[in-house]
């Protein structure tokens, strides 16, 4: 694996003539936790779906883990959590996890281990045998995260993973993300519009109207804009362009 887990070169995407992603380039270094920060509708999900190969960019080139996207083999190495929970609500949490584990061709033994690990990570072990239809919003979010981790992927791409999760669990999930990065050397790309989460990332890319306004470490960005917190960084960065 090269220095960068993800390399986007001059990516562009339009939906019905409307430019959603202006030509942009971005690099995600291997082994880092990168935050994609931006208000709702700025193009975060579109960008992520292009990285996954689910949307084809109009222009530009995307390389992930030494593969040129789209590439099916690549999907084994990516743990993906969509913005909206895509779960089989008439099945139990365990059945959902086992189903996805089978799609990654895990052996029975591995499957049982990984399901137990992932469920424990998101504190769902006790509810694993309940049907998902009876889960709360936060529980569904956690189950989605567990599914993203099920095959022990090298790269995690998480689209707003902590929306609807209470502050205590949110903190735990971030601790776990940081542990995964540090102890298991995972590369993690997270989108968020919560400014408090921005602090915890190694690097940030600030997106607005499909363009990257600024990128760097949280400290660099704050210093650059002479701001106290990220709300201020965002206001100043946005103001500079508009």
């Amino acid at each position: 694996m090269g220095e960068n887990a993800i390399t986007l070169s001059a990516i562009e995407k339009r939906f019905h003539q409307k430019e959603v992603i202006a030509p942009l380039s971005l690099e995600v270094p291997t082994g880092q936790l990168i935050g994609l920060l931006g208000p709702s509708g700025c193009g975060k999900t579109t960008l992520i779906k292009m990285i996954m190969g689910m949307i084809k960019p109009d222009n530009g080139r995307i390389q992930v883990l030494d593969y040129v996207v789209p590439h099916k083999q690549l999907l084994i190495d990516i743990g993906y959590m969509a913005q909206s929970d895509a779960l089989y609500i008439d099945l139990t949490g365990a059945e959902n996890l086992h189903f996805f584990a089978k799609l990654y061709r895990l052996s029975k033994k591995e499957r049982v281990e990984r399901v137990a690990y992932a469920a424990n990570l998101v504190r769902l072990t006790e509810d694993l045998n309940n049907k998902v239809v009876n889960y709360s919003g936060g529980m569904k979010r956690r189950l989605s995260l567990a599914i993203a981790l099920i095959q022990n992927p090298k790269l995690l791409i998480l689209d707003e993973p902590t929306v609807g999760i209470d502050p205590v669990l949110k903190k735990e999930i971030w601790q776990e993300l940081i542990r995964l990065k540090e102890k298991e050397h995972k590369t993690i790309l997270v989108t968020t519009h919560a400014m408090d989460e921005a602090e915890r990332c190694d690097r940030l890319a600030m997106l607005r109207s499909g363009q990257i306004l600024a990128q760097g470490t949280p400290q660099e960005l704050k210093a650059h804009y002479q701001a106290q917190d990220f709300d201020e960084v965002f206001l100043k960065a946005g103001g500079a362009i508009v």
Partner: protein
Amino acid sequence: MRIGAIVTRIIQQMMRDKRTLALLFCAPLLVLSLMYFIFNSDESEVTLIVSHGPAQLIEKLEAADFHVIEDDNVTITQLKDNQYDAWLDIQQKQTKLTLLNDDPSAAKALQMKLAQALQPEQASSMTFVTDYVYGDEDTAIFDIFSPMLIGFFVFFFVFLITGIALLKERTSGTLERLLATPIKRSEIVAGYLVGYGLFALVQTIIIVLFGIYVLDIVHVGSIWLVLLINSLVALVSLSLGALLSSFAASEFQMMQFIPLVIVPQVFFSGIFPLDSMVEWLQNIGRIMPLYYAANALNGVMYKGFTFSEILVDLLVLAGFALLFILLNIISLKKYRSL
């Protein structure tokens, strides 16, 4: 194994959805029984072959709007092959009427018309015998359209249930999520075909057995052929339902396909007589899967056709299924280009 994962999941989901299971397995039996009680109790040009008929009789018959073909050497096989409605063989001692009887109500009408036309002659001492190519004088209208009805129910309920199940997968995002895993598009389609196909097969077996052993629908041919035809019908309807679900945004829109896709097929599959329709309209049926299904089912159950006689219909049905399956695989490109 990925296909197996999808199949297992579908079985888990279906077993938990008791109402859908009931709809799949009980509703067709209910409707079929209702139809049975209602129908166990129209007109077009009739082709009549006359052998050894005197000239004035021919004239009289033509005046009565029969399409008369004079031929002294006719065989039953010719009658079958050319779909001639009846054959009147006039001999010294007796007159023999052979009815094709592929449509009992039409055959009864023909008999009455013929009796009227022949009245003066019958007054003379001539004896009159009637013979049937298909069925007998007791053949009820239900007997000839029930084979098609069986095919129709298999088609309708499988279409509805798989269409809506797949639509749910599309709208809930689970289908898109599935494509974010390394599964092949063809594996997804195969998984759905096998998963829902199993339920469709059970349904088919129940309907066929119920029709034949409980309602006592005539079946001259092999029951295995009936199951084979209906399995193909289920496959066609499964793949068509899955395909059309990508053009529907809600369950209500899926229901809107019923008048568009299902009802026209009912009209053209032969449940209603087509003979009185203009020819180009009759040919529309040929683009519809149920037309071939009805043809084959009617052939096997009512006329006792063998495998080779319905081979063309089976091939066309398999062709439809293959086409829809391929289109399904292609349509999944919407979610992932590979």
